[in-house]
Amino acid sequence: MYPANFNYVRAGSVAEALSLIESEEDAKFLAGGHSLIPTMKLRLAEPSTLVDIGRIEDLRGISYGSGDEPDCIGSLTSHATIATSQLPCALVEAARGIGDPQVRNRGTIGGNIAHADPASDLPTVLTALEATIRVAGPEGTRNIEAGDFFTGLFETGLKDNELITVISVPREESGAGSAYAKLFNPASRYAVVGASAVVTLDAGKIVRARVAVGGLTATAVRCGAVEAALEGNSSSADAIKEASSQVAADVVDDILEDVHASAEYRLGIIPVFVARAVQSACSRAA
């Protein structure tokens, strides 16, 4: 399994990367390569040119915000770095469960979300966290809300000539907690289904809830019905379970089916993972 031939250029800066992607025909950005290279080895992708952004140091690392400023994660930050960071627990938990140690060492958050695999963990978590994805393009930078970023199966709002630079994640407010729970695909370690929750507790009541699920449809889905059922209610196990069952109202159409899980199974177990994520987020918030 070898990739088809391509031209290789290395970008030293974001500006250079953007200029190279414009000037080269049929070019693609290469970050850690852990989504792109496997696809190229199977010759499912045969770009003419790879613009290697892997050495743009500005894009690597986490800068923690203070006060109302969000935490900013450079797009080249590896899953391993996130897995051992002080970022919100949901993100740390999700990063820890991506692939395996070697994959986490090379795979990057930017590459992961640009690939937009429906079975990927990070889109679900970023959606729940209400993260913002900053992208740079020829006309400057723009921000895309995570909830709008993922547009379809392996599709994003990113244009071919745009580059993800920063993923900014709101800091957890006091009394808040977050979590991610997933059913591992026993072969690939991807999520069969995954759920992420961010909650704020006040005196045993859930005053704010953000919930998203992944693996069920083409993109991660924000769960308004679950959130509404959680907010203003008790964080007891029964209340959480009851609210989590509302997820059926949030994901209705075009449920994925594959050799690993039927739509029925995905729909059947997602309330369990929503409840587990909410429960765990609540215990962290307390």
Partner: protein, 160 residues
């Protein structure tokens, strides 16, 4: 694809402490670079989908799957392979523990397993069985059922 010939690139790499400078196609995978260009065949290839971990090497101090890294991505890097682990004919404690605990049968996954394990135990001499089992989730062995590998890693963690 037809007739598409990309320009060769020069790749410089320090492999097991020895500097190499080699012209290669940019599409060459790090594992093929190590095996075919440098001639170190200890790093094996067991799958095409970044699952099995047989090709695990250290790149700038991190365990990576060399089947999913382009050689050009490792340009300028320090790479360590199984061949560089023993020093002056003395086995690395991880190699020794795999030997002592019968942590290998056919030997094919062994180089990658050992390279992953040496990183796993770094700074963690009291690593638990569970941590080892989770830490080796990127390395597949068909022969041993992992049991003696877990034993070996535990012994080596304490020896290191």
């Amino acid at each position: 694809m037809e007739g598409r010939r990309s320009m060769g690139v020069n790749v410089t790499m320090n492999i097991n402490g020895k500097a190499h400078s080699v012209d290669t196609e940019p599409r060459m995978l790090l594992v093929d670079f190590i095996r075919e260009k440098i001639g170190l065949t200890g790093t094996n290839i067991g799958c095409d989908t970044t699952q099995c971990g047989a090709c695990t090497v250290h790149m700038d101090g991190m365990a990576v799957k060399s089947c999913t890294v382009l050689a050009v991505q490792a340009d300028g890097s320090d790479v360590a392979t199984i061949e560089g682990l023993a020093t002056d004919g003395v086995l690395h404690p991880m190699q020794q523990a795999f030997w002592d605990e019968h942590g290998l049968q056919c030997g094919y996954c062994t180089p990658g397993m050992i390279m992953a394990a040496t990183k796993l135990v770094e700074g963690n001499p009291d690593i638990s069985d569970e941590e080892i089992r989770h830490g080796l989730e990127g390395n597949i062995c068909r022969c041993t059922g992992y049991q003696n590998i877990v034993k070996a890693v535990k012994v080596a963690a304490q020896a290191a």
